[in-house]
Symmetry: C2
Subunit: 317 residues, 2 copies
C-alpha cells in the first residue's frame, strides 16, 4: 500500500450514495418526496456525483418508494449527477426511463435462499427477468448489475465465488457495463474481498467493479482499505450510515458516506466531495429520520477541528 | 498486503484490553471492584493475555479507580495474563508493585497543551517524573511508555512526528522496553499511521510498537489494516467499544475488542481469543454499564451465524 501518496497525485475515487434508496426504504414512517429530494439535492451540492435515488418497484410491496417519480421530478440539481434507480422488471424499467433515470440497477442474489426470500424468485427466474429490462432500456440508460450476498448469505453461510461469477456472466452477456458486489448483511472480510475481486477481474477484465459494504460487524472501512489496495475506485455508501441490518437489532447498515469520504480524502484520494457540506446533509438526515444514526465524523467533525482545553473533561490516554 | 494467507501460517497478534481501565474510568457511576474483576476474569478466560486493568492515580482525582488494589486482588485468573496498570508517579508505581502489577504504563502527551490539560504538567515535568517511576520499579515490572495524542491533538491540531519521537527517546533512555502510540481523540488516518510507525522504527528499531486507535471518526479498524501491513503485531482496544470521546458527544471511543478480534481472526491472524466467549463478556459489560455500547460483532454475531429466512424482513441489497 502506498499510504503517504503525495497530495499532487490524488487518484479519483467515486462514491455512490445509496442511503436515499436503501435507507429511506427501510424506514417505517413515510418520508415526503420533497424531503427526500432535499437530501438528494444536498448530497449533489456537496459534490456526490452518483446517487442511487430510488427504486421503481411495486408501490404495494414497498410503499416507502411509491413516490419514486415524484422524488426525481422535485430535484433541483439532478443535471449535476448521475441518477441511479433500481428496476426489478420491464415495468419498473419503463417507469424509471419515464422519470429520466441515468442508470438502471438490477439485483440478483448469489444465494438461492436469499434470492427467494428477498425477490420471491429463483436465481434462474431473476436472470430471465433481466431480458425484460434490457429489451425496455435499449441503450436509453446505463445498466448496472448488482450481486447481493456476494460475500456470504445469512441463511446459507459461505457463498462460493463461482455462484457470484455465474450472475456476473448473466449480466455481461446482456450488455450490462457496470457491476456492484453487495455485502448485504456485512459478511465481507479482507480475504473474501480479495478473492472475489481478483476472480471477477480475471474472468471479466472489462467490467469495472463497485464495492458496497455493510458495517454490520464493524469492518466496512477495513474492507474498503482492501478494495483500494486492489485498485477498486468505486464504492457505495449511505449518508449518516442510514439503514440497518434486518437480522441484527442495533447493528449498523451500509458503510457511512461521510466516514468513507473522510477516510478517502485523508488517505490521499480525490472524491470531489466537500466534507463540511456532507456533514451538514448527514445531520439533516438524522433530523429527518428522528433518531441517532451511526455516522461518526458527523459527531466528531473533521480531523483538525480544534477544541478549547478549558471546557474539556480530563481523559488520560 | 497478503489477504489470502493460508490458515496454516497464522502470525500471532496480541490484543491488549484497555476498556477495563480506560472505559470504567470514564463512567460517572462507580462500578464495584467485584464487577470489574468479573469482567477482567471473563476477558482472560476468553483468551486475552494482556489487560490494562486499572490505574494507580490519586483516588481523589479519579474516584472511579480508587479500588485499583482491591480489583486486582479479586481476580481469579490473573496468573493467566499480564496485568498492566498506569502509574503517573513514584507513589503510584509503589502501589502498583504492591498490587503485583506485571507491567507499569506511563503516559505523556506529545502535545504540550494536551499534557497540561490532561496531566496538569508540562511535557518536561512529565518526563522528569519518569525517573521517579523508574527508580521505584527497578526491574520488578516491565515498563511501557505510552504517547498520547501521537496522531494529532484536539487543541493544537497536527502533532509533528519529532514531538512524538522526543518522548519515545525519553522512554528509551530510561529503559522502557515497550511502547504504545495512542490516538487519544481519533485523529489517526492511514498516512499519519504509516509516517509515525516508519519514523519510530528507523530511530528506535529495538522498541516494539503497540497501536491504540480510537474509532471517533469511524476509521479505527482501517488504521489497524495499515498497522498490520506495516508488520505491527500489538493493538490496544476496549471491550464492547467502552469509553467515548470527551469532546464529541455520541462519538465512539477506543476500537472495540471483539470487532478487532473478529477482523484479525478473519484476516488470518491468530489472537488466541475465543470470539464467542468474548462476545459474552461484551454483552455482560453492556449490562454493567446499563446502556447500548458501540460494538458491532456483539450485536450481529460471528460471520457465519445463520438465520431462518422465515422471520426475515425483506431487504433488497
Amino acid at each position: 500500500m502506498d499510504y503517504a501518496r503525495p497530495r499532487t497525485e490524488r487518484p479519483q475515487v467515486s462514491v455512490t450514495e445509496v442511503g436515499t434508496r436503501y435507507g429511506f426504504q427501510s424506514e417505517p414512517e413515510l418520508i415526503p418526496a420533497a424531503v427526500k429530494a432535499e437530501v438528494i439535492d444536498g448530497l449533489i451540492d456537496a459534490g456526490i456525483r452518483h446517487v442511487e435515488a430510488t427504486s421503481f418497484v411495486s408501490p404495494r410491496a414497498v410503499p416507502q418508494l411509491a413516490d419514486a417519480h415524484e422524488t426525481l421530478s422535485l430535484l433541483k440539481h439532478r443535471d449535476r449527477a448521475c441518477i441511479h434507480a433500481l428496476a426489478p422488471n420491464g415495468r419498473g424499467a419503463e417507469r424509471a426511463l419515464g422519470a429520466g433515470v441515468d442508470e438502471i440497477v438490477c439485483f440478483i442474489s448469489a444465494s438461492q435462499t436469499h434470492n427467494r426470500a428477498n425477490l420471491n424468485a429463483t436465481i434462474e427466474e431473476s436472470i430471465a427477468r433481466l431480458d425484460e429490462v434490457v429489451s425496455v432500456v435499449r441503450g436509453k440508460a446505463a445498466l448496472r448489475g448488482a450481486v447481493a450476498c456476494a460475500f456470504g448469505c445469512p441463511f446459507e453461510g459461505e457463498v462460493p465465488v463461482d455462484a457470484v461469477l455465474r450472475i456476473v456472466e448473466a449480466y455481461a452477456q446482456r450488455g450490462f457495463t457496470r457491476l456492484t458486489f453487495g455485502d448485504t448483511t456485512g459478511m465481507a472480510v479482507p480475504p473474501t474481498v480479495a478473492r472475489l475481486v481478483e476472480a471477477a477481474r480475471r474472468r471479466f477484465p472489462e467490467l469495472p467493479i463497485a464495492l458496497h459494504f455493510h458495517n454490520t460487524r464493524g469492518v466496512g472501512l477495513a474492507n474498503v482499505m482492501v478494495g483500494l489496495d486492489l485498485g477498486i475506485r468505486e464504492y457505495e455508501s449511505s449518508i449518516a450510515g442510514l439503514g440497518g441490518c434486518p437480522f441484527a437489532p442495533g447493528a449498523t447498515g451500509n458503510v457511512c458516506t461521510e466516514d468513507l469520504v473522510y477516510l478517502l480524502e485523508e488517505s490521499g484520494y480525490d472524491t470531489g466531495v466537500d466534507l463540511a457540506k456532507l456533514i451538514a446533509v448527514a445531520k439533516r438526515t438524522e433530523e429527518v429520520i428522528g433518531r441517532a444514526l451511526p455516522g461518526q465524523v458527523m459527531k466528531a467533525g473533521p480531523r483538525l477541528r480544534k477544541y478549547s482545553p478549558d471546557g474539556a473533561r480530563r481523559a488520560v490516554g
